[in-house]
């Protein structure tokens, strides 16, 4: 369980990114943060692995305040997948997946063996193992990113708009794949997107943010759809519908 208690983040330039956020992220479920840009959703995600430290308030994982954890060790214990995969361009697919186990001091042969197994888990052909990221398609790169995030078998997987930069067909494929993976692996996934469709598709719980990191509504997708808390929520959901077909 990840818990935000009265979390506020003000950046040095004075922008208030998050104000007085209190939120509980249940374990072994997919929680999707959705909102337009500037809603603070990425900032909130990054507070979980201390990429960003809150100005006030606490973030706790299983009751332990993350501020008491050493940031580098904390990050190695949490999976992280980002847009454009964030892979290391100078390392092969296999070594990219093995990055975190190697950082933790695991033996190279063991780390690589696990990386190979993970390629299978995320649906990557073994023949790609020795390629470099630039030699893969966008979808393949994203799969490598997911495999890297899973390499140390973390309880928590943070995903920052992971499918934002791939084309719609590949995105749909990756979304389906993520649902299948989650069904098998049972991680606590926190997923950031600005796409409400993606949020409803993937989320067991959806948290819709207003600008300034304020929770507009949090709940199961059906709840947001059937009982939007206010006009902002209703509008945000409405704006996500495919207009061109309906009109």
């Amino acid at each position: 369980m990840i818990e935000f208690r009265d979390v506020t983040k003000r950046f040095p330039d004075g922008t208030l990114a998050v104000s007085e956020l209190s939120l509980v992220i249940p374990p072994r479920q997919v929680t999707v943060f959705v909102g337009s840009s500037g809603s603070g959703k990425t900032t909130i995600l990054r507070m979980i692995n201390r990429m960003v430290d809150p100005t006030s308030g606490t973030v706790a994982i299983d009751g332990v305040d993350v501020a008491t954890r050493e940031p580098v060790a904390l990050r190695r214990s949490i999976g992280y997948v980002m847009q454009n995969s964030g892979l290391l361009p100078h390392r092969t697919v296999l070594d990219n997946i093995a990055t975190v186990p190697l950082l933790r001091g695991e033996k190279k042969t063991e780390a690589r063996a696990r990386a190979r197994a993970l390629m299978d888990v995320v649906g990557l052909d073994g023949s790609l193992a020795e390629r470099y990221p630039a030699q893969l398609s966008g979808g393949q790169q994203q799969r490598v990113g997911v495999a890297r995030g899973l390499a140390v078998d973390p309880n928590i997987l943070l995903m920052d708009e992971p499918f934002g930069a791939v084309d719609p067909l590949v995105r749909a494929e990756l979304q389906t794949e993520l649902k299948r993976l989650q069904h098998e692996l049972d991680k606590t996934v926190v997923f950031v997107t600005h796409d409400i469709d993606e949020a409803f598709l993937l989320g067991d719980q959806v948290v819709l943010f207003k600008p300034g990191g304020i929770v507009a509504q949090a709940g199961r997708p059906a709840e947001l759809l059937e009982r939007p808390a206010d006009a902002f929520v209703a509008e945000f959901i409405e704006a996500g519908r495919p207009r061109s077909i309906l009109r």
Binding site: R75, R76, L88, P89, A134, Q135, G149
Partner: protein, 229 residues
């Protein structure tokens, strides 16, 4: 040609001396430029200051610098160390801007993602930023290498002999075969160093070759799509 054959022992001796005089400044210039480049990028103030100092240093003519160094640092006048120190200064001055720019050009996304998966600051620098700046560093190092091999010849004027001796001697005696031997020899050394650096780069940075191939293929595939549309 006959001059070259009859003087081969001196030519090869000075050629070897030329090699040994060139290597330390190139290596030291590269090694020193890395921490300096890091410092230059780290703080807004140091960047301007260091890059300006580098530019001014490189503007000092080499001959007076060779001659001045003994009085500045207390070395003996004929000691090759004067040439080595001066050439190292030039190498650093040349390399510093390249290193600083190369490090600054490493993708912010990659740095961010490296931090996010648990690279500490030092490991991120040596394991991610430095290798990714590699192609730019190599380009800079090739310039430094050629420039150093050429500047070593000036040392012959103050008695630190290299292939430069032959164009000074040949010029004084108006014997142009000897001048040409010095010039061609210097160019050959520069070419050998350059080839070695390129090969070293290929061995150490395999992703630049295969990666570039991949990107070219991608670009090609995209242009084909563009045609189909």
């Amino acid at each position: 040609m006959s001059w070259l054959v009859s003087n081969w022992s001196q030519v090869s001796q000075y050629g070897l001396a030329h090699l040994w005089l060139s290597i330390p400044p190139i290596v030291l210039g590269f090694v020193l430029s890395v921490p300096l480049g890091w410092v230059a990028n780290r703080f807004a103030l140091t960047r301007g200051a260091l890059l300006t100092i580098g530019g001014i240093l490189y503007a000092i003519p080499s001959l007076p610098l060779f001659a001045l160094l003994p009085s500045l640092i207390g070395t003996r006048i004929l000691d090759p160390i004067n040439v080595e120190i001066a050439l190292t200064l030039y190498a650093v001055a040349l390399m510093l801007r390249t290193t600083a720019d190369g490090l600054a050009a490493v993708s912010g996304d990659v740095k961010l993602s490296a931090t996010a998966v648990g690279f500490g600051a030092a490991r991120r620098f040596f394991g991610v930023e430095l290798p990714l700046a590699g192609p730019v560093l190599l380009a800079g190092l090739r310039v430094v290498s050629v420039s150093t091999v050429s500047l070593v010849t000036v040392g012959s004027v103050i008695g630190v002999n290299s292939l430069g001796y032959f164009f000074i001697d040949g010029y004084q005696r108006a014997f142009y075969t000897e001048v040409w031997v010095g010039i061609v020899g210097t160019v050959l050394i520069a070419l050998v160093f350059d080839t070695l650096l390129v090969l070293l780069g290929r061995a150490l940075m395999p992703w630049t070759r295969r990666g570039a191939g991949g990107r070219r293929r991608d670009a090609l595939a995209q242009s084909r799509w563009a045609v189909l549309r």
